[in-house]
Symmetry: C2
Subunit: 480 residues, 2 copies
Amino acid sequence: MKRETQDKKYRYEEVQHRMMRMVARAVYRPGERVPSIRELSRSMGVSLNTVKQAYLLLEDQRIIESRPQSGYYVRPRGFDLPRQPAFSGSELSPALVPSARICSQILSHAGDPGMVPFGAAIPAEECIPSAKLSAIMSGQCRRLLHESTAYAMPPGHARLRVQIARRLTLAGCDMDPDEILITSGACEAVFLALRILCRPGDTLAIGSPVYFNFLDMFRELSLKILEIPSSPETGICLDTLEKTLVSQKPSACLVISNFNNPLGVSLSDEKKEKMVRILARHGVPLVEDDINGDLSFSNVRPSVARAWDKKGEVLLCGSFSKTLAPGYRVGWLAAGRFREQAFRLKMMVSLASASPTQLAVAEFLHSGGYEHHLRHIRRIYAKKTAAMADAIHRHFPAETRITKPEGGFTLWVEMPESLDSILLYEKAMAEGISIAPGFLFSTTPHFRHYVRLNAAAWSDRNAWAVETLGKMARTLMDSS
Amino acid sequence: MKRETQDKKYRYEEVQHRMMRMVARAVYRPGERVPSIRELSRSMGVSLNTVKQAYLLLEDQRIIESRPQSGYYVRPRGFDLPRQPAFSGSELSPALVPSARICSQILSHAGDPGMVPFGAAIPAEECIPSAKLSAIMSGQCRRLLHESTAYAMPPGHARLRVQIARRLTLAGCDMDPDEILITSGACEAVFLALRILCRPGDTLAIGSPVYFNFLDMFRELSLKILEIPSSPETGICLDTLEKTLVSQKPSACLVISNFNNPLGVSLSDEKKEKMVRILARHGVPLVEDDINGDLSFSNVRPSVARAWDKKGEVLLCGSFSKTLAPGYRVGWLAAGRFREQAFRLKMMVSLASASPTQLAVAEFLHSGGYEHHLRHIRRIYAKKTAAMADAIHRHFPAETRITKPEGGFTLWVEMPESLDSILLYEKAMAEGISIAPGFLFSTTPHFRHYVRLNAAAWSDRNAWAVETLGKMARTLMDSS
């Protein structure tokens, strides 16, 4: 009995990955039949249940689909990835970020029970282990009365830093816990990293489209930004990046390397290594935001670019805001050779991060429940993302293209070019639906007809909202 | 029975204040006998116990002292207040803040069990209601599972903001809870306020000496500072302030208006009003740091300058770090007409503050235990401050002068001029004693022979450390 459980736990992933590889290598093409459960069970020497489990996951990932009385088939794509706008490297010039009051509006909608929260990238309520976290925090605060109320001065609670360092081995990093600085979420981590690396007026290279709150932050820091085109299939264009390193001499580069927000794409290991090499050659430090790294749909924790850093010039930012509790504000910054500066800057900016939530997260990681929790929520987000993409496909105008994220929970949706997403935003808001219009994600006009949707907020109860958005989009097209 | 408790609760303060006024007006002079408990009980028509209670408080405050078999006497001063260095208004010019690595060292000592923490201004462990706070936080998180883990987006938890607004009525403010932004301590509040009001290279007027972490912050913000001389008796010199407003045109002014760190002095109501009027006349906004406002030894909550602000140009910063729990990181900023900017900036810098600690502080304030707690810790701090000043007086070189704070828990100590406090700092650190040397509190050389000591860390167990410091100071004098 015990053995079968073990078998289930480990082997279904092997089956899953084997099928994913074969589909990726076009051994089986879209629309073709894949081996039946019985066939694969026999050929791989695993139980029927294990194959069933793997096929369920592959269905969740929209890689295969079952057809009644016929078997399993590689799923036709049905819709394409968004096109990569044509803005080439030679034309790029640094731009100041204009003010956009709308960002804070969208972030505020997240806590408004009257709004369908498709706008901000906030985790699903059912994916937050609130009861367990609260119980753990209570226990920790009772046990560590003084520590729970005293300052956890930078670099922060030691036990938490050790746990984070341990987890980073999964991402290919051999990290000294004493390099890790606890911050108030990844947001503060990125803010501190940029304040260390850039002075007002400096230029920052960044993958485009860009998470909108970052754009607000860049403006606040008086940075000019260089938007390097990023593809939904392969991520940031390294050729363009290298050209601009030469011509524009940015002070730093900021990249969301895994399950990019909004694109959902991760850089391959090869690309991460190459990016680090290129940046090192030009002496440009990298701020790597890995906020979604734990949210891989395939259950494989991707690497971080930092794993290839030999000079301490990759400043790695992470957080538990997407996986455990956004309201705990527990993030971290591993600032490499800028570590001391980071500690001091944190003291000047907010002195320390809250102690009780640091204690709670440390104990959650320590007690071993985190990995189990991740497996649980990754499946939920894979399902939600697929289901929402399906609904968008059904209800939005015909030419709509949607990303197929490999992790995280945002969908980046390209609508027909005539559609202005600001108008859609305004109409949607009037109906109690919050969305993030594409223009917010760039200083260029390339994404005006795009929209980012938070698939974490997908549920049968909210399905009407996608239908309504689709109708609004069609109406706007007709009237344009 | 009930009535007598009531009598005790309210009337002993009246007795206390009446005596304080009479001493202040020199109705009774230092060394003179004050009425006996019996006499005063009769003349004021209150119980003996009430007078006893009042006299105990007056003893704590070192205003009177009992002499065996003789009665109560107005306490001779015994030592003088530090002298106000002679740096006059016409000489003042804005200065850049040099780097001082020592600040973060001192702040780190606070959590080091191997150090006597006289350096950082950290509350006493016995004054932190850790058990009660933990219990309240547990209860709140259990009851409000979702809210405790979700973002409390700016301006922050509504119930907490209402409680803060209510308390501000005690300080003479009629505050709209929707103006209050919850921050990660007063530190982040001041940081946000300065980022709103000042650009890099701007000039900031500030009372001198200056809390050293602020100096670090000013350097980080690339501000030039104008140090306005402040007296330990009356606070910032308004004449000099007004002159520099004309000649130097600073972008803002920052003042710790109550129980100033390090001076311990509060501005009188008249002075607060005048300061607000002068600044308004010159269109210079005020950042008012009221972090110690709740810690009055006389149990009377002083006003804030904000109470006289008619233009929304006083940005009031507060915190529960000194009174409840430094590690909870619950502070706030009421940014007046800059409120919207403050909310957005907070989002860019750290998105939100931790939710569980906001819930805990809100409930602590709501359940009514806060005022009782304050009465308790004010007495403790009054005692500690007096006892530590006494010990300094006994052990330090003869010409040493010490402030006589009216609240808070820092002592500002002027040693003989030949003494270099950096040398004292280094010798003390080697013996496991952390102190804050005076040079950290200014860009001028006026305070090199000063030291700030954290009286909250005073205890019989730590008494040896003051004696050791005194010996070190004498040795340094002899060798200089």
